[in-house]
């Protein structure tokens, strides 16, 4: 089995299994914990969180509303009531801070499905890849909003795999499994990271939301990179890494500033040289990485 089929093998031998999977475990915990909070009610009768990801009420006081569906509702020409407005603003504020696609990596249940597809793809050595543009999602985002405008209904919500899966798990799935299966097979057999990385208009919306977010992955120790390519192999949006990791000569700073980065932290996990770390979007001068290490007392190898 080659290194790219099992990325992070170097990191495992040097840092141990747990350290290599730290952020992945944290992410899975977050995804399942959020789902679990919603399921406590219907399964055990403990009603802490009611509703689903499109809109919820926590402890009977905190309203949260998905700003993407809120925007679609606005596009149909309907102005929702205050509760939904407050809920949407709270969610927007959160993702403006931590990065829009944190939703994709840390909350969205479909991520577990597509990550599994990606993992299986690697394990089974499936290389088939259709030439999908990563910008197709923005076209879809436009189409979704346009459809809402034209039909006057939330047309996207008739097929949206994210709400189909999350609502289905909580309220009953019906044939919704078919849509999820289709996404899995698409990612497994047709296109690498096809759904989350190329098509999902919800991801596109959250990308746009997090364009200027504060929390970022930084390649602060990029001069330690030994070109093992493990980070590219695990990254759900591999195109976001290159500038931050290899851009020093072109005058680029170490911050991964692309809005497509999901802040999943998988690159931090798999890197045996501990190049990546979570940080802020600031201090992004080309020499910031070296300064950062000086200030944090890290050794700078020659």
């Amino acid at each position: 089995m080659t290194g790219l089929q099992q990325p992070g093998i170097a990191a495992t031998t040097e840092r141990g299994w747990f350290a290599r999977h730290k952020w992945l475990l944290a992410r899975r915990f977050s995804q399942f914990a959020i789902l679990g909070l919603f399921l406590l009610g219907p399964w055990l009768g403990i009603w802490m969180v009611k509703g689903n990801l499109t809109s919820s009420r926590t402890l009977d006081v905190l309203p949260l509303t998905d700003p993407f569906i809120f925007l679609q509702s606005l596009a149909t020409g309907y102005l929702p009531e205050l509760t939904a407005i407050i809920g949407a603003l709270l969610v927007v504020a959160f993702y403006l801070l931590v990065g829009g696609r944190v939703f994709c990596a840390w909350v969205c249940p479909v991520n577990i499905v597509t990550d599994t597809a990606h993992w299986s793809r690697r394990r089974l050595g499936i290389n088939a890849a259709s030439r999908l543009s990563p910008n197709a999602r923005y076209w879809l985002l436009g189409a979704v909003l346009l459809l809402a405008l034209i039909t006057g209904s939330l047309a996207w919500e008739l097929v949206n795999p994210v709400s189909v899966l999350h609502r289905g798990l909580i309220f009953g799935m019906g044939f919704g499994w078919l849509i999820i299966l289709a996404i899995f097979l698409f990612d497994l057999l047709v296109s690498r990271r096809g759904w989350c990385g190329h098509l999902c208009p919800m991801g596109a919306f959250y990308s746009a939301l997090g364009t200027h977010s504060l929390v970022r992955v930084r390649a602060d120790r990029r001069e330690h990179c030994n070109d093992c390519m493990d980070c590219y192999a695990v990254c759900p949006e591999p195109q976001v890494i290159r500038l931050a990791l290899k851009g020093e000569q072109q005058g680029k700073g170490p911050v991964i500033s692309s809005a497509h980065c999901t802040n999943c932290g998988r690159c931090i996990d798999v890197c045996s040289k501990e190049v990546f770390t979570f940080g802020s979007r600031f201090h992004n001068r080309p020499d910031a990485s070296r300064q950062h290490q000086h200030s944090s007392g890290m050794e700078v190898p020659q």
Partner: protein, 285 residues
């Protein structure tokens, strides 16, 4: 020939092809979804929306399918549509024959709605119009046959207002009465208790969505008697004096006793009817 083309053209061509592919694919998908969305606009006849739900058209734009109304319904009446239901995916509905709406005074489902797809202006549950009960099968309704079932009437939360019993002659036995349950749209909320309670194998009275249950008058049409009452007088010209071409000494009273002979008038009949019949036959005798 080939050499004269600039180097960029291959990359540019690829870019344009990719762009066209993406745009074409998205357009195809959006077109399909748009058609599907149009189809999903038609609410099936047995799915009833929760109280306060806006018009189906606006409901599908305002309901974000969060299920909070489902959660706050104390009677588990509501459910969210799944892919195998005919109702638009994820939207709340109930089936009256299974679990009808109990018409809570505080309307918790409406209070739970974060977007107002269930209109918060609905504060009196009696003003809800989820649908309309229609006694759709008169041939199997027991009361129509002259029996005294009338369970629909008895369970109605707005008894004697939303459903009344109207007594009619029973033409089958020709000596009994039938008590016909009649639904009145100005009081029926469409809660579905009557449909749930109907004793038949399949309910003879059913809740239908408003768009199916109700007819609509032409815009120009007016009920004459209502207009007359509003105006306080008849709105058509009063009847003309009737003119009859009658022999001297006779007149005709339309609303009164009919043909009237005045003093001295010529009678058309002899005192003996046979004389009249034989008139003109005297010579032949």
């Amino acid at each position: 020939m080939m050499g004269s083309k600039p180097q960029i053209s291959a990359a540019r061509r690829r870019f344009l092809v990719d762009m066209a592919r993406t745009a074409g694919g998205v357009a195809l998908f959006a077109g399909g979804l748009g058609l599907y969305a149009r189809q999903a606009h038609s609410l099936p006849s047995l799915a009833i929306r929760p109280p306060g739900a806006r018009d189906e058209e606006q409901f599908l734009g305002s309901c974000i399918r969060c299920g909070l109304c489902v959660r706050d319904c104390p009677f588990d009446t509501l459910s969210l549509a799944t892919l195998d239901d005919a109702v638009a995916l994820g939207t709340p509905y109930f089936t009256a024959r299974s679990i009808p709406c109990e018409m809570c005074d505080d309307i918790p489902c409406v209070k739970a709605c974060p977007t107002g797809a269930l209109n918060p202006e609905l504060t009196d549950i009696d003003a809800a119009r989820m649908g309309l009960a229609v006694l759709i099968d008169q041939e199997n309704c027991l009361n129509f046959q002259g029996l005294r079932c009338e369970v629909c009437y008895s369970v109605c939360p707005s008894i004697d207002k939303a459903i009344t019993l109207e007594r009619h002659h029973n033409p089958r036995s020709d000596k009994h009465a039938v008590f016909i349950p009649v639904v009145h749209s100005d009081h029926c909320t469409g809660c579905g208790k009557c449909e749930k309670a109907c004793v038949l194998e399949k309910a003879a009275i059913k809740i239908l969505p408003m768009y199916l249950a109700r007819g609509e008058l032409g815009q120009h049409y007016r009920w004459g008697w209502e207009e007359k009452q509003k105006a306080g007088r008849s709105l058509v010209t009063p009847d003309q004096q009737h003119q009859y071409n009658l022999p001297e000494g006779q007149r005709y009273d339309y609303a009164g006793e009919g043909l009237i002979y005045e003093q001295g008038g010529e009678l058309p009949f002899d005192a003996d009817p046979l004389e009249t019949l034989n008139r003109g036959l005297e010579q032949q005798r």
